[in-house]
């Protein structure tokens, strides 16, 4: 590892923007983070998942130079963690608390931050306006931040995080408190940052379904440990849950039709057991037999037959989920295992 002038060059992985090696953090006897290692390439979105107290915010604060790790090191665009000021030039951060003042206009605020990053006042203002346009806030550029809605403040926070044109953007719970539409808009904005700017994005969130939709890589943490990491598909695939529960499906029908649906499904030869999971909401859990013997095509065919049977019986289908195929199932299993 070449670290001349604090820089790390690697011909094998030129696009690696963030490399964490054995990061460890403890406060006295309490360990907040154990041996965190991962890497993130340009243009990719990495999801940082974990329940409260898992060590997500601690990890982000270490990687953004706000905390010094007890041991371990990391590199941002080849710059060693020994040079925090140089790293801060390369990163953009949306902290969980947002931290926006109220008695200042958005454009004045972005201009101020642009200047703190070394831009001239005119240049900072121009970039600030462009960023406000990027996040769809140009029409409120001259409004006081105190008059903004939560969603608008989140957008402004993202604009601030991009004011130095960062190589890596850290977003700590960016969708917290947003309505579904706001969440969707923000997530597509995050994807845009990664794809169009070719920046690496580290995204911490509890919204697993959304993370699954936009993240390329994922790190699942619990009690300060990494319990799974890799691409979303790898993480879903590497868990036992998928193997144990891949023949289980959850079906939602109108609640008056639950009994009828149960009868229809129980009559099917490939279905071993049908259990009403939540009669009021209309959920049923159907376990398929092992006839497929791990043949995924056969498994998919069996699941289709369930749908077919319900449609033939003219039972409206409101929901259909293959258990174990979602990041949420993996997350719940892994975090539960770690607690046990």
């Amino acid at each position: 590892m070449n670290q001349n002038n604090g820089s790390k060059t690697s011909a094998a992985e030129p696009a690696t923007l963030l490399l964490a090696e054995d990061l460890h953090m403890s406060y006295g006897d309490r360990v907040a983070l154990r041996k965190l290692s991962f890497n993130l390439s340009a243009g990719r979105v990495m999801g940082f998942l974990g329940p409260n107290g898992a060590g997500k915010t601690t990890s982000i604060r270490i990687l953004t130079t706000m905390l010094e790790p007890t041991s371990g090191r990391f590199f941002v665009d080849g710059i060693s963690s020994q040079y925090p000021e140089r790293i801060r030039r390369k990163i953009g951060v949306l902290p969980e608390g947002l931290g926006l003042p109220k008695q200042i206009t958005a454009i004045a605020y972005l201009t101020y931050f642009g200047q703190l990053y070394g831009r001239t006042a005119a240049e900072a203002k121009r970039v600030g306006m462009a960023l406000l346009q990027d996040v769809g806030m140009q029409h409120r550029a001259d409004s006081l931040i105190g008059t903004y809605s939560h969603g608008m403040r989140q957008r402004l926070g993202i604009a601030r995080a991009l004011v130095n044109d960062p190589k890596i953007v850290f977003l700590d719970e960016p969708t917290l408190g947003l309505d579904p539409r706001g969440q969707q808009e923000l997530l597509s904005m995050i994807q845009h940052i990664a794809r169009e700017r070719n920046a690496g994005v580290v995204l911490s969130s509890h919204l697993l379904s959304e993370i699954e939709g936009i993240c390329d890589d994922v790190v699942i943490m619990n009690l300060g440990r990494v319990v799974a990491k890799g691409t979303v598909a790898e993480v879903i695939g590497q868990t036992q849950l998928n193997a144990n529960h891949r023949n289980t499906v959850r079906i939602r029908v109108p609640s008056p039709s639950v009994a009828q649906a149960q009868q229809v499904l129980e009559a099917m030869p490939d279905v071993q057991q049908v259990t009403p999971a939540d009669v009021t909401a209309g959920w049923l859990v159907a376990e398929l037999g092992d006839g497929a013997n791990g043949d995924s095509a056969e498994e998919a065919h069996n699941k289709n037959k369930i749908l077919e049977a319900l449609i033939r019986a003219q039972i409206p289908i409101r929901g259909f989920e293959a258990a174990g195929g979602r990041l949420q199932d993996v997350f719940l299993q892994l975090t539960a295992e770690a607690i046990e």
């Binding site: 706000m66 200047q115 703190l116 990027d134 996040v135 700017r197």
Partner: protein, 302 residues
């Protein structure tokens, strides 16, 4: 986001590398803080309170003077001392909330995430917190002019008041910032800062006999408030020592010791602030990290 053309266009703009700063960071932070303090109305509230207190005191002194109980020189001294005491309180309170306030509002993290020198951030905030002092001094001039009743001491009082008051304002603003850097909440920062402020005011309230003891004489030299009071008293009133005054005016050589004492304490506070505390400015006050292990041990023992 809504308009692909706009997105692409703006992306090109934002890709431009920063062309190099033309403004010093401390100046940027100072301007920003100044705007928030003055346009936000906080300083204005303090100055209104200052004017009210000065008015009450001036009224009491003027009515006392009508009974021929207080000579103009002493009234001038008391007014000046009050202006300094109230004036430095403003800087102290603003400084004590400057960092902890940002911690509580979660705005400090964004500032610390910029590649700027911590020392320059502190310098900008320090100067902004100091900014109400000149205004307080200017506000106190009409009171001093009125109460001086044409006495020649007015010029000296204004000159020495501005000098020693500025020294004290710098010391107490610096002290407030030091405490704020090390604290995690406004409550703790304000409590500690005001406690120190009151302790510094305490010696002047002690009886004359106690003030004459060697220990108190030493404290009068190192306590910047008391040293300033002693200096002003000896400079402005020493030609006519007051009956009942606890302190012997003494030769002028001794008078400068008080000014030197105040200057040394101010220099020490500034040194501590900019050489020790400012470079270690963190998201969390270091006072908490120093206290936490002790607290944990105490809890473990219990």
């Amino acid at each position: 986001m809504n308009d692909p053309q706009a997105v692409n266009g703006s992306r090109v703009e934002s890709r431009a590398e920063p062309s190099g700063s033309t403004s010093l960071v401390w100046w940027l932070v100072f301007k920003q803080e100044l705007t928030e303090l003055w346009l936000g109305g906080r300083v204005l509230n303090f100055l209104i309170l200052f004017s009210v207190l000065m008015s009450i005191m001036a009224f009491l002194l003027a009515t006392n003077n009508e009974l021929s109980l207080t000579p103009p020189k002493l009234m001038e001294l008391i007014t000046l001392q009050a202006a300094i005491t109230f004036g430095l309180f403003i800087g102290l309170v603003i400084a004590a909330e400057s960092i902890t306030g940002e911690r509580e509002r979660a705005t400090l993290e964004a500032l610390l995430l910029t590649p700027t020198s911590r020392r320059q951030i502190v310098a900008g905030k320090f100067l902004a917190a100091l900014s109400p002092w000149p205004a307080a001094m200017v506000l106190s001039i009409p009171y001093m002019v009125t109460l001086s009743q044409g006495d020649a001491v007015l010029g000296s009082a204004l000159l020495w008041g501005a000098l020693t008051g500025s020294l004290l304002a710098i010391a107490f603003t610096g002290l407030g910032m030091l405490v704020s850097i090390w604290s995690n909440s406004n409550k703790i920062s304000l409590f500690v800062s005001l406690l120190i402020y009151l302790l510094c005011l305490l010696p002047s309230q002690l009886p004359g006999q106690v003030q004459a003891t060697p220990a108190l004489t030493f404290i009068q030299t190192v306590d910047p408030v008391e040293a300033t009071n002693q200096f002003l008293q000896k400079t402005l009133v020493n030609s006519q020592p007051q009956v009942g005054s606890a302190v012997d005016p003494g030769p002028m050589g001794q008078v400068w010791i008080f000014l030197a004492g105040s200057a040394v304490v101010t220099a020490l506070i500034l040194g501590l602030l900019f050489l020790v505390a400012a470079p270690r400015l963190r998201l969390e006050g270091e006072g908490a990290s120093m206290i936490r292990p002790i607290w944990n041990r105490m809890e473990a023992i219990e």
